[in-house]
């Protein structure tokens, strides 16, 4: 049988840099192909060539056995290829229907026929079991719903091959489950799916065939039944990953003590609601929760970026609430922020300047308010070496670093303060497996050193791997705290969704 899609020996050169080196993939009708690889492995480049956004340096694309050439995305769409981008492209003031039919609106007497459009969308939504409300404003839809709109848009345009670029990155665990079901159903209906991701458990759940890329080359092309996560990870990274072994519980005294913290008491729903939490020395406390349940505000309150209404935050003997950020940092707090571009760096600042934040106040690097750059540069070079941060020079703009490398720079900077306490918020978001490993090791080493760490992550796997204790946040409250050994993904998922897991937790959750 002929393949629905074949890409043969695709090569893309940017100057001397080989982004894709003779990459070939095949895709049959009704098949799910996962393309996995670290950041910068060439997944996106390959898809951009397929979608007509880049012209290959050499290579051939065949659709149903016929060689094709796309000069742009419109060409690709016409040929039945659709792409759901990582960042959605919706008009938030338009209805779901309008967003889906845009560009191919059903018309009556030359006018847009809203009624027919809504019916078509409804029919499509039922046919593929993708639930949306056709009349809702796109801006009012949840992230998961918005993604469904994007998928329906692609289906409406008549795509047979659907590219999903990192579709689960923004979803909650429950939404991920739903999406995976949708993907399977679409495949059963005869659609061909290309799934771009670096989350291996999801790959193992839905895909039939898996192509692994590393440094622009195919390092493996395997069927799901013949492989496992360990093998895929090895193919992706090029070496075996170390298992994070079980560790001894360290008995440490309390370090960060949060008592009865309240934020937004005047709002209809408080942001933080009588929250109490303790992080001991030599301990990683993970905070699990669907984003938007007060985690960001908690971090900001601890680090001095947000005012609190009442309660107290102590670090050792020092009271932190009501103090300035500089005071709190000086008292022994370092902070890997959840959004590296918003909080963690300035895109226009150089690598050196981004690294300098906080250090310029230290005596060692500050001589009567002149910054001693020479000593500091040595320090930054050390970070670059230790974390293998890829940058052309210290004068490179931070915004030019890849996301993963910038994250490593920020992690190195915050670890470099050697504080007693660290907030690590989404420390590995958007970072490839190799870098993730470095960062995890560094965090565990800090814990073993007797420091306290508060870990906030939307990745349950990360929480489960790193934490000694796991606190689940829901609607501004800590609904339960589980011990490392008692926590499973299932139990956490239930608690995160606001469910009562057992009798003991009913005391802390009020029925809404």
């Amino acid at each position: 049988m002929t393949y629905r899609l074949e890409m043969k020996e695709m090569t893309k050169k940017y100057g001397e840099f080989l982004a894709n080196d003779e990459v070939s993939i095949q895709l049959k009708k009704g098949e799910v192909l996962a393309i996995v690889g670290e950041n910068g492995a060439g997944k996106t480049t390959l898809m951009r060539m397929l979608y007509g956004l880049e012209q290959p340096t050499s290579g051939e694309i065949k659709l149903n056995g016929k060689t094709v050439k796309f000069s742009g995305p419109l060409d690709a769409i016409e040929n039945g290829i659709g792409m759901v981008h990582q960042h959605f492209m919706l008009f938030s003031d338009f209805s779901v229907t309008e967003n889906i039919v845009i560009g191919h609106e059903p018309k009556r007497n030359g006018f847009f026929d809203r009624k027919e459009a809504a019916e078509k969308v409804k029919a499509l939504s039922e046919q593929y079991k993708i639930h949306v409300n056709p009349l809702k404003k796109a801006g009012d839809c949840s992230i998961g719903e918005q993604q469904r709109i994007e998928i329906l848009k692609v289906l409406y345009q008549g795509a047979d091959i659907i590219i999903l670029d990192e579709p689960t990155a923004v979803l909650t665990p429950i939404e991920v489950e739903e999406l995976l079901k949708t993907i399977q159903f679409l495949a059963e209906q005869g659609k061909s799916i290309i799934l771009i991701t670096h989350k291996l458990p999801e790959v193992m759940k839905v895909s039939g065939q898996i192509t692994v890329l590393r440094n622009g080359k195919v390092t493996g092309n395997v069927l799901k039944q013949n492989t496992d996560i360990e093998q895929l990870a090895t193919l992706m990274v090029g070496r075996e990953l170390q298992k994070l072994t079980d560790r001894n519980q360290l008995e440490g005294e309390p370090l960060l003590v949060i008592d009865n913290l309240n934020i937004g008491v005047k709002e209809a729903k408080p942001i933080l609601d009588h929250l109490s939490l303790t992080v001991n020395r030599g301990e990683i406390v993970g905070i699990a929760g669907v984003s938007g349940n007060g985690q960001s505000e908690l971090i900001q309150a601890i680090s001095g970026l947000r005012k609190i209404d009442s309660g107290s935050i102590r670090l050792g003997e020092t009271i932190l609430n009501g103090k300035s950020v500089a005071y709190i940092r000086n008292a022994g707090l370092a902070h890997i922020p959840e959004d590296r571009y918003l909080w963690g760096a300035a895109k226009e600042a150089s690598v050196e300047e981004t690294g300098l934040m906080g250090y310029y106040r230290k005596k060692k690097f500050n001589q009567s308010s002149f910054i001693r750059l020479n000593g500091f540069r040595k320090l930054v070079r050390g970070w670059i070496e230790r974390f293998e941060i890829k940058t052309t020079s210290l004068d490179e703009k931070s915004g030019n670093l890849s996301g993963g490398n910038l994250q490593k720079l920020i992690v190195a900077r915050e670890l470099g303060f050697e504080t007693d306490f660290l907030i690590a918020a989404e420390p590995t978001r958007g970072v490839d497996i190799g870098a993730m490993e470095y960062i995890h090791e560094a965090i565990i080493a800090k814990r073993n050193n007797g420091d306290g760490i508060l870990l906030v992550s939307s990745e349950l796997t990360e929480i489960l791997t790193l934490s000694d204790r796991i606190a689940v946040m829901y609607e501004g409250k800590i609904v339960d705290i589980l011990d490392r050994n008692d926590a499973t993904e299932e139990r956490l998922s239930v608690l995160m969704a606001g469910g009562n897991e057992n009798e003991s937790s009913t005391k802390t959750t009020t029925t809404a």
Binding site: Y51, L53, G72, P73, L74, M83, H85, H87, M89, K153, S303, L305, S324, V325, A326, I328, R329, N330, H335, P337, L342, W343, G344, A345, A346, K347, E348, A349, E353, T354, L356, M357, G358, Y360, R361, N366, S369, F370, I371, L373, S393, L394, D395
Partner: protein, 358 residues
């Protein structure tokens, strides 16, 4: 790090303003030929008018003095990420305060001069600080408040010199203060030439600001605040404090621009003498042309001043009208703003590429 790359970087940063200047001159050439004059000859006359002999050079530098100071003041604010549009009002208030201090503070000439400098700086600084404070306290947009405060300042200064402090001794009774005691004047740099000590002050200030912005922790805080206020706050920089300080110095230096004009060339505050030549807006252009680099701002200010003095020479000696200089300046402004839009457009385009053409 190494010299070669530094040099390359410098050259690259110069490409855009130089292109803008070149296109400005080309457009000017078109305008000149429409008038029917010879392009090369006209430009030659213009050049002579700006740099033709020592006298013209000093005239150009004298004109550049307030422009440099205004540009430096604005550069600080821009670096801190705030758009101070109130340089004109800050300059005028500085000028009138300096004139009054020099007239009414008792003491020797040098004391009068120093108190005038301090008063000019403080008046401009506090006026600018007012806008900064309104922004931090009440979230009144700086761009708008500084712009509107210009009217208040200029009209208030006009009132001061047309009523309570007017010099009524002359026959024409212009809206101006009495003349300052000669002992309090800023000395001329050369006998009989118009350039005065204020120019030296401006250049020294440019160097000091360059060093502060580049090598000190205060400069680092200002720059980071301008790059990304969230990052600054997260890193422990006191946003409000840095913003207020930046606004104070920004306005203070603008006030100083007015002060040195009063002490060095007018010897009194005359209504309209600072606003009519458009020093504030030329200074704004200088800061934008140089991307808020203090040294670059000084160079750009001298260049823009040369364009103006050159055009005056051109008008004296040819049939080509003075407005040609405005044409060239206009095109310059266009291309300086085009730089901003180009950057914006590039970012947009990049984002669009990633998301495809859906």
């Amino acid at each position: 790090m190494n010299l070669q790359r530094k040099l390359q970087q410098l050259l690259r940063s110069l490409v855009q303003p130089l292109t803008a200047v070149l296109i400005g001159l080309l457009t000017g050439a078109v305008a000149i030929s429409i008038v029917g004059a010879s392009v090369l000859e006209t430009y030659k006359v213009m050049w002579d008018g700006a740099f033709g002999n020592f006298y013209f050079v000093t005239a150009t530098l004298a004109r550049a003095t307030p422009i440099i100071l205004i540009g430096l003041g604005l550069a600080i604010a821009f670096r801190a990420g705030v758009f101070n549009m109130g340089a004109e009002g800050q300059m005028v208030l500085g000028a009138v305060s300096a004139a009054l201090a020099a007239l009414y503070v008792p003491g020797s000439g040098i004391i009068k001069m120093l108190s005038a400098l301090v008063a000019g700086f403080l008046a401009g600084g506090l006026w600018s600080l007012l806008a900064g404070w309104m922004e931090t306290r009440f979230k009144v947009q700086l761009l708008i408040s500084t712009l509107l405060l210009n009217y208040v300042a200029v009209l208030f200064a006009g009132y001061l010199v047309s009523s309570p402090f007017q010099d009524k001794s002359g026959s024409a009774a212009l809206a101006q203060t009495h003349m300052i005691d000669q002992a309090a004047w800023l000395p001329k740099l050369f006998q009989g030439m118009s350039v005065h000590m204020g120019f030296v002050i401006a250049i020294v200030l440019a160097i000091i600001l360059y060093i502060i912005l580049r090598f000190t922790s205060a400069g680092y805080e200002v720059r980071m605040l301008g790059y990304n206020p969230f990052f600054a706050e997260y890193g422990g920089i006191n946003k409000i404090k840095v913003l207020l300080f930046s606004m104070f110095f920004s306005g203070g230096i603008a006030g100083l621009a007015g002060t040195v004009e009063v002490l060095g060339s007018q010897y009194r505050y005359v209504e309209g003498s600072l606003t009519v030549p458009g020093y504030a807006w030329t200074g704004l252009m200088a800061a934008l042309l140089a991307n808020s680099n203090p040294l670059g701002t000084a160079v750009a200010a001298i260049m823009l001043a040369a364009l103006q003095t050159g055009a005056m020479g051109m008008e004296r000696n040819t049939e080509v009208p003075l407005e040609i200089a405005s044409v060239i300046q206009g095109v310059l402004i266009l291309f300086v703003t085009a730089k901003i839009t180009m950057n914006w457009w590039k970012v947009k385009k990049k984002a669009g590429d990633i998301h495809g053409a859906a």
